[in-house]
């Protein structure tokens, strides 16, 4: 499916594709999970992927993460084919993936430590990122001392610290309460905007999909394929107030219809 140019200035209209999926198919144990997925995500663009459960949205994210190989088609990041997991495509998982045996700071610095980044640079990055996700000064804490929402912030900071070309979000906030979720969505926006970041955000929450993304891909199941693509009519900065705006609710209704259609198909 050819991508539609977004009419909004969240990113350059002609900025290069950071992530390019071309006729991707995935077959696992003889059953077709993904069928003919073509999608191109521009540098700096946030694309959310929604769809009924079982539509393969997490599999799609795992293809980009390099955790699931494609059976047909090509998947490239900055024109380089994806052959396995790597720090240019970090993931925030739905499950709690914070390393509980490391302090918050050690968690955030993990990818940097693997690269042998100089210690003072690691420390600077950790301090900045913890500040950005609202965990300033909590670097020495153990994960067991943090709430679920705080641990998700550590996860995001750790994934972002690796400076990925594509940041992958796999229903990261599904298990959190509404208030915490909204705050984390806002922080996600702040983090993503703090540096040009391309992101794929998988969720089953339509409101979340609209709030965080520049473009929304609706998938349908058996086999998983792209049913529709919608642009989000909001710019870079998103105050919490947009959630109640008419444009937001209109898009929500449109997506709901597309979602139901996808589910029926």
């Amino acid at each position: 499916m050819p991508h539609r140019a977004s009419p909004h200035p969240t990113h350059e209209r002609d900025s290069p594709a950071a992530l390019e999926l071309d006729s991707v198919a995935v077959e696992i144990a003889g059953s077709q999970i993904l069928h003919d997925i073509s999608l191109s995500v521009r540098t700096g663009e946030v694309v959310s992927v929604v769809g009924p459960s079982g539509c393969g949205k997490t599999t799609l994210l795992n293809v980009v993460a390099g955790l699931v190989p494609v059976s047909a088609g090509t998947a490239t990041v900055d024109s380089a084919p994806i052959t396995g997991p790597g720090p240019d495509r970090t993931v925030v998982f739905q499950e709690d993936a914070v390393f509980s045996w490391m302090t918050v700071a050690q968690n955030v610095a993990y990818a940097l430590a693997l690269r042998r980044t100089p210690a003072d640079e690691q420390r600077r990055t950790v301090t900045d990122l913890l500040e950005l996700v609202g965990l300033g000064g909590r670097g020495a804490a153990w994960p067991k001392e943090l709430s679920g929402g705080m641990r998700k912030r550590v996860d995001l900071a750790r994934a972002f610290a690796a400076r990925p070309k594509v940041l992958l979000m796999d229903e990261p906030y599904a298990a959190l309460d509404q208030m915490t979720k909204q705050r984390l969505q806002q922080e996600f926006r702040n983090v993503v905007l703090s540096r040009t970041t391309t992101s794929m955000f998988v969720t089953h929450d339509l409101e979340e999909a609209i709030y965080v993304a520049d473009r929304i891909v609706v998938m349908s199941a058996s086999p998983g394929r792209i049913a529709a693509v919608h642009d989000v009519p909001f710019g870079r900065d998103r105050s919490p107030g947009i959630r109640t705006s008419a444009a937001f609710q209109d898009l929500r209704r449109t997506l709901m219809a597309a979602f139901e259609e996808a589910e029926a198909a």
Binding site: A97, L114, E145, R158
Partner: protein, 281 residues
């Protein structure tokens, strides 16, 4: 999100715990103290014959009699047990780690380990005496075998329980297979492993006693059999108490070492999460 920070909460718990400490200690000492008093009363008054249960003063007397033999026996048993345990622990943990890392190691050792695991090690003592004769070699081998099998199996099962999402997270953050092993697998199994090491350490004293019963010429267990032949119950009880003390000291030493490695877990507190939930008065 609540505004109470967990740090504050921990602080409260700590304060509550330390405030309760004297009362808790008194309560904990009550039952052991009662047993000791009861023991002293029934034995010192000869309500129970010294042949069945010696009195505290019998033990002191026996200690005087056995002093010359006790020290070399103690040195011998401690040496045997510690070397057997250290050898077995090193072997078992290494085997478990190797099996987790490489499929070849798993194929090579996995089958044999599953085969040996259900065999009661004590049942091998007659064979060991036959193969290795009487002396240090069979004793150390027996303790090492018992320890290594237990630790090999628990290490492997601990590794199988490592959370896949942690491994996936590490891989996507740029970790190599070796990095995952070093930074995820080993640290996350460490608390579990240290627990098993404590169990194995306790078991190794038992293996030492059994080995000395059946074929040693020195050590505390050998001395015990020797005392049995003289109907010296006081001497036997004295040696039992020495074994208990030794096992307790080794356990304390391991727990001391455990502290920094398990600080991050919920169970690093003495009571653990479940006791904390159920222990409310």
């Amino acid at each position: 999100m609540t505004t109470t920070t967990p740090a504050h909460r921990t602080h409260h718990v700590e304060r509550a715990r330390s405030g309760r400490a004297p009362a808790t200690w008194g309560r904990k000492a009550l039952v052991p103290l009662a047993i000791v008093v009861l023991w002293a009363v029934v034995t010192e008054t000869r309500l129970v014959a010294a042949l069945f249960l010696p009195s505290p003063s019998d033990l002191v007397e026996s200690f005087g009699d056995l002093r010359a033999q006790l020290l070399p026996a103690l040195a011998s048993s401690v040496g045997m047990t510690l070397s057997g345990f250290a050898l077995g622990a090193a072997l078992g943990v290494t085997m478990g780690l190797l099996m987790a890392y490489s499929a070849i190691a798993r194929d090579l050792f996995g089958g044999i380990l599953d085969f040996i695991r259900p065999v009661p090690v004590f049942a091998l003592i007659p064979l060991f005496v036959l193969w290795f004769g009487i002396g240090r070699a069979p004793q150390i081998t027996l303790i090492a075998l018992g320890t290594s099998v237990v630790l090999g199996v628990t290490t492997l099962s601990a590794i199988r329980n490592v959370s896949p999402v942690h491994v996936k997270a590490a891989l996507t953050l740029g970790a190599t297979r070796w990095d995952v092993y070093r930074t995820v697998v080993v640290p996350s199994i460490l608390p579990h492993l240290l627990g098993s090491i404590r169990v194995a350490a306790a078991a190794s004293w038992g293996l030492d006693v059994a080995a000395e019963f059946l074929g040693a010429q020195s050590g505390l267990g050998y001395l015990m059999i020797n005392r049995q032949q003289y109907l010296d119950t006081a001497g036997i009880v004295l040696i039992v108490l020495i074994y208990s003390t030794l096992a307790l000291v080794l356990d304390l030493a391991i727990r001391k070492a455990e502290g920094p490695a398990t600080r991050w877990t919920d169970r690093s507190s003495a009571t653990g999460p479940v006791a904390g939930l159920l222990g409310a008065d």
